[in-house]
Symmetry: C2
Subunit: 301 residues, 2 copies
Amino acid sequence: MTPEEFDKRQNIKVSTDVLLYTVRNENQENLRKLPEKKLQLLMIKRKGEPHKGEWAIPGGAVESNEDVDAAAYRELKEETNIDNVYVEQLYTWGAKDCGLRSKCTRQNYAVSISYMALVDSEKLNIQAGNDAEEAKWFTVQCSTMATNLEDGKGSVLGKERDYYLTLVHQEGDKEIECSAIVRVKHIIEGRVVYTEREVLESSNIAFDHAKIIQYSLERLQNKVEYTNIAFNLMPEFFTIAEIQDVYQILLGKELLTPNFRKKIIDVDRLVVPTNKKRAEKVGHRPSILYKFNPDWFNKNL
Amino acid sequence: MTPEEFDKRQNIKVSTDVLLYTVRNENQENLRKLPEKKLQLLMIKRKGEPHKGEWAIPGGAVESNEDVDAAAYRELKEETNIDNVYVEQLYTWGAKDCGLRSKCTRQNYAVSISYMALVDSEKLNIQAGNDAEEAKWFTVQCSTMATNLEDGKGSVLGKERDYYLTLVHQEGDKEIECSAIVRVKHIIEGRVVYTEREVLESSNIAFDHAKIIQYSLERLQNKVEYTNIAFNLMPEFFTIAEIQDVYQILLGKELLTPNFRKKIIDVDRLVVPTNKKRAEKVGHRPSILYKFNPDWFNKNL
DNA sequence: GTAATAGTGTCTCTGAGACATTATCGT
DNA sequence: ACGATAATGTCTCAGAGACACTATTAC
C-alpha cells in the first residue's frame, strides 16, 4: 500500500489514558496502631456525553505531531501538575468494542493507549490538579473468583476469573462509589491460550474503563514481584513495615515479616538503612528508616 | 474535551506491525551431528517510497471499525496464510520519530502498534504467503555491548547497551544481509529510570524497525524464563535436546543439559514424555519424544 | 571397541517459608 | 511490669548450578 492510499482509508482517533496510582494513609486511629494504607487511583468525572456524570480514567487526544509517550506525560502534567514520576505504557485497546473517549460509529472510532503512573503521596499533597475537570482519588479494592472451564469429560479447556472491582471516594460523610465486574477468560486451544477481557457490569465507571483498571492491577501485581516498581509509591525514607504494607496491598495477601525483611534487605538488596529513625513518640521500639538502594540498578538494568 | 472537539483535531494514521518468528534447522551436515537451529524473522521488501527496496516488518493500516488485535491477526493471515498461532501485543510506538509506514509531515504521521507472533516451522512449510509482496525469512543474530554511564566521581547514572543486529537471508549462493545498531539507554533520575531506544545505524532495514526488532527480542528473552512461550516455536513432538536448543538460541547462552532436563521435566513440568522415539537411524542412543504438558496451564493461568 | 548423543545421580549453596525469640520504646 | 511493635535467629525444604557418571545406538 502506498502512503497515499493509506491516508485515504482511515479515520481513527488516538488517545492516551493515564492510570495514576498512589498509596495513602487512610486514618490515624491511635498512637500505638500504625495508620492503614490504601491504594488509590485518580479518576475524573465526565462532563459531556457519552457516559456523562460517570467516572473515567484521565486522558485525552494525542496531538498532531506529538509522540504518544509525550502525550501521556503531558496529560499527566495537565491533570495533576506532576512530573518526574514512574510512567509505563500498559496496553493499546482496540476500537471495535467502543471502549473509549469518542462516540463509536462506523465512521468515527478510537484507539486508546493506556499508561500507568505511580507517585508517592507526599509529593502529591503539595501539588494539586489544575485542570477544570473534577478529579478525585478513589480507594481501589479488588477481589477475585475463579472457575475452571471444563468439557464434560473433566479435561480443562481454560479458566475464567471474575474480578470484583470497587472504587470508593470518601470526603467527610459523603461517599462516591463505583464498581464493576470484569471477566477474564483464558481459553486453551491446542498449545495457544487466548485471553478475553469483558466488562460484565459497570456502575458509575465510564466506557469499558473497568477493564483497563483490572489490567493495570494485574500488571502492577506481577511487576511488584520482580522489579522495584513498588518503591515509586514510597517517599524517600520509610520503614520496613511501611514498604511491607505496600507490598501486601498490591499483592492482596499477607507476608511474613521476618522473611520479607530478609528478602528485601539481604537477598534482593532493594533497600539500605539510613541512620535516621522515626522521631514520633511511639509506645514501642522505634523503627529505622530505610531508603531505596540506588545500587540495585547496577545489577538490574 | 467534547467528542466534537476531539474529532477536529487529529489526523493520525494507525497501523499494526507483526513480527513473525520461527525456528528452523539450517543445515543437516551429517547423521551424527544434530542439525543447527536458527531463529528466523519474516520481513517484506518495500516496493514504494519511502525506504523503497529496504526490508520492513510486515504490517498495514488498521481498517475502519476494526479492532486493533483483529487487524494484527488479519495482517498475519494475509501475509502468511497462518492462523491459530501465538500472538502478543508488544508496544505502541509514537509518531514523532517518523518511525513508520506513512511519510512523516506536520499534518500526517503515524502510530504503530507492534505485535509478536510465534510459529513452529513445520506448520510453516505447508503454507506460504499469498500476498503480492516479496516476503523472506531472515536468520536473526544479536550481540550486545554494555557500558555504565558515570559522572566524574564514579557514581552510576545509568547504563547504555548497544545491540548489534544482523539479519541474513540465504538462498543458494545469494545472500541478503540487513544490519543495525540499536542503542538502549537507561538513565537513572532519582528513583525513576528512563529508557530511550535509538537506532544508531540501519542498513537495509526500513524506518526504525530495527528498534522494534530489538524490543521484541528483549521481550522474547524475558518471557522464555517464566512462561511457556518457547513451545510456540516447537512442533507437537520434540526431544529435550531440541527444546534446550531453542532456549539457548533465545537466551543467547548455553545451558547445562542435566539441569535443564531437571527443570523442564521435574520442576516446572512443562513437558511430558510420550512413548514415541526418534525413528531415524542415528549413531547413538535414540531420544524420547516429549510434548508440551497441557496440565501446565492449570497452575499457570 | 569407538564416536556420539541421551539420560541419571550426587553434591553444594542459596533462598523461600514457617516460626520462636529477643529488643526497645512509652506508660 | 506491660503492651506494642521492631528486629533477629533458627530450622527445613525446594531448586539452581556444577559436574561425574551411565546408557544406547551405528559402524
